[in-house]
């Protein structure tokens, strides 16, 4: 079976006024296997969102190719091979929670009964069955984001694209949502490309963390993480030694510190490192 996502030699250049241009992405190569969870992390302007948008066919690459399940990104979009969630939940305010989840199904001509059944199933999955008939403005930010995730799962995609979906949530909600996402991925078996700027979030969720740098956006390093085995990540993992080791590895890749021997390996050195927030990086 072909990879969920294959990015080869992709570049994206945005033209500016007066003939100037910004190189958002340069020569990106990345493959995401089916069922794999890959995070894109890096400082603002490193092109991580642009890369996600290229995969989603919301932008077209200036050079190189993007394939999703062996098709062009455009064909994959038309065939609805992926579900997508943004930082803003982006629910339609005039539709109930159920009607919002049904939107993609309705647009693609799924019958009324089927839509209702699928929406009920997804609401159950994200734990919002009691809120089926509410409107988005009656929900908290975390609940809205759960509805958006349920909506992205509506057509049982094999690939989920998520652009900082928990970025606007408070830390408590965020950790709970991360736990839920791990569970959802285990249940659906979908591959995920997840954009974030939180190192612990990337480490907790991912099989691999893609570390990117800005101007021009490039991949610095791909850090394999895969803690606790897919679907078995639990809250206790956030306090485990290997979690901190992986956080350190990603952080050092991000900051360009030589990190050849610590990556993903819990060692005395790593444990001895003072908690990363002392050094100004988000760890919780």
């Amino acid at each position: 079976m072909s990879d969920a996502v294959t990015v080869s030699g992709a570049s994206k250049v945005f033209p500016l006024a007066r003939g100037q241009q910004v190189v958002a992405l340069e020569a990106i190569d990345l493959a995401v296997a089916p069922g794999e969870f890959v995070s894109l992390i890096g400082p603002s302007g490193c092109g991580k969102s642009t890369l996600l948008r290229l995969i989603a066919d919301l932008e077209t690459p200036t050079a190189g190719t993007i394939e999703v399940f062996g098709k062009t990104a455009r064909q994959a979009r038309i065939d609805q091979d992926y579900g997508i969630a943004f930082q803003q939940a982006g629910l339609l305010p005039w539709r109930t929670v159920t009607a919002n989840i049904e939107l993609p199904l309705q647009l693609h001509g799924v019958g009324k009964g089927m839509r209702a059944a699928r929406a009920a199933e997804l609401l159950e999955l994200v734990g919002l069955s009691d809120f089926a008939d509410r409107y988005p403005d009656q929900l908290s930010g975390g609940m809205q984001q759960r509805v958006a995730i349920a909506r992205s799962l509506a057509e049982s995609p094999e690939l989920l694209l998520m652009d900082e979906p928990f970025g606007a949530l408070d830390e408590m909600t965020r950790e709970r949502m991360q736990d839920e996402l791990v569970r959802l991925c285990a249940e659906t078996g979908a591959a995920v490309v997840f954009v974030t700027h939180s190192i612990p979030e990337a480490v907790f969720l991912s099989d691999r963390v893609v570390v990117m740098s800005p101007r021009p956006g490039r991949i610095l390093e791909i850090v394999p993480v895969r803690l606790g085995g897919s679907g078995k990540r639990e809250d206790g993992l956030r306090e485990a030694t290997e979690f901190f080791a992986a956080v350190t590895a990603v952080r050092e890749a991000l900051h360009g510190v030589p990190s050849a021997d610590v990556r993903g390996v819990p060692s005395a050195d790593v444990r001895g490192v003072p908690s990363a927030d002392v050094r100004g990086v988000e760890t919780r």
Binding site: I78, Y82, L107
Partner: protein, 289 residues
């Protein structure tokens, strides 16, 4: 609570207007205060400014002294009903034309730059000049057996005033969805039509409702003015002209069709408010007025 307060302050406003009228009438100079042969203030005599009581009691007297003449209020109600019907047709046509224009302008950027200046320019043409022209052209139109009627000219002019706020408001509304929503529709591979129906039209409703209210007011004004200009019988516009000639001997009479026109305006605004209420589901998050 807030509702009863709204009604109360509305009633107070009307009362205040009445007090101002009668107050000026009590203290104002009857001949308007002539200085060097120039009248500097409105005349406060009974002919120019009849008492409110005169206006209201006149409503319950017959239209003319001729035997069998109906009461004034019933004549006004009939005329107002006629004008309201014509205005409603004009409003409906105006809203449809305005919506279609907005959709076309939203769909084709070039259409927006080509059409919008004309839409704005169209509103600078004086209505009085336009009305006889429309009636003149209309008189030559025939659909088989059916003839172009004068009331159609009036409705057409009403729609001409009504379409403008709708086209401008609807265009803003159609372009109001967030980029995130538009992109979401794109990821669903939803075409232009689906995006219009599922996203742009519902999103435009909070913009459309005030535009439709403006359109209703415009349609009423357009109807009354066009009735005068074309000379269409049966409505309050023509009635105003007819009764104004009686004002020297019967100062209360010309006010009756004015009250009629006000009533049409209120009913039209109320009907649009009812539409807004029916569409309240699309106005979530909007501050309830």
């Amino acid at each position: 609570m807030t509702r009863s307060r709204g009604i109360l302050s509305g009633a107070l406003g009307i009362l205040l207007l009445g007090v101002l009228w009668e107050g000026y009438k009590a203290i104002g100079p009857g001949d308007g205060g002539v200085i060097n042969g120039l009248t500097v203030l409105p005349r406060a005599n009974d002919l120019a400014m009849p008492h409110l009581v005169t206006m209201f009691t006149r409503l319950f007297e017959p239209v003319t002294a001729a035997p069998g003449s109906p009461t004034l209020w019933s004549a006004v109600v009939q005329a107002a009903g006629f004008s309201l019907g014509v205005a409603a047709v004009g409003w409906l046509v105006g809203v449809i034309v305005g919506l279609v224009l907005a959709v076309v302008m939203q769909r084709f950027r070039t259409a927006e730059s080509a059409l919008l200046p004309w839409v704005v320019l169209s509103q600078t043409v004086p209505l009085i000049a336009l009305a006889p022209l429309v009636a003149g052209i209309g008189a030559q139109v025939r659909f088989g057996e059916a003839r172009w009627q004068d009331w159609m000219s009036v409705a057409l002019i009403a729609s001409y005033l009504a379409f403008f706020p709708v086209s401008v408001g609807a265009l803003r509304g159609l372009e109001s969805p967030d980029r995130a929503h538009v992109e979401l529709m794109r990821t669903y591979a939803a075409g232009w039509w689906n995006t219009l129906v599922s996203l742009r039209l519902p999103a435009s409703i909070p913009y459309l409702l005030p535009a439709m209210r403006l359109a209703a007011a415009n349609a009423v004004i357009g109807t009354v003015v066009a009735e005068v200009s074309i000379g269409l019988r049966g409505g309050v516009g023509r009635m105003m002209i007819e009764y104004a000639s009686a004002s020297s001997g019967d100062p209360g009479k010309p006010w009756a069709p004015i009250f009629g026109a006000v009533a049409i305006g209120l009913i039209a605004a109320g009907l649009v408010a009812a539409i807004g209420w029916a569409l309240r589901g699309y106005r979530r998050g909007e501050v309830v007025a």
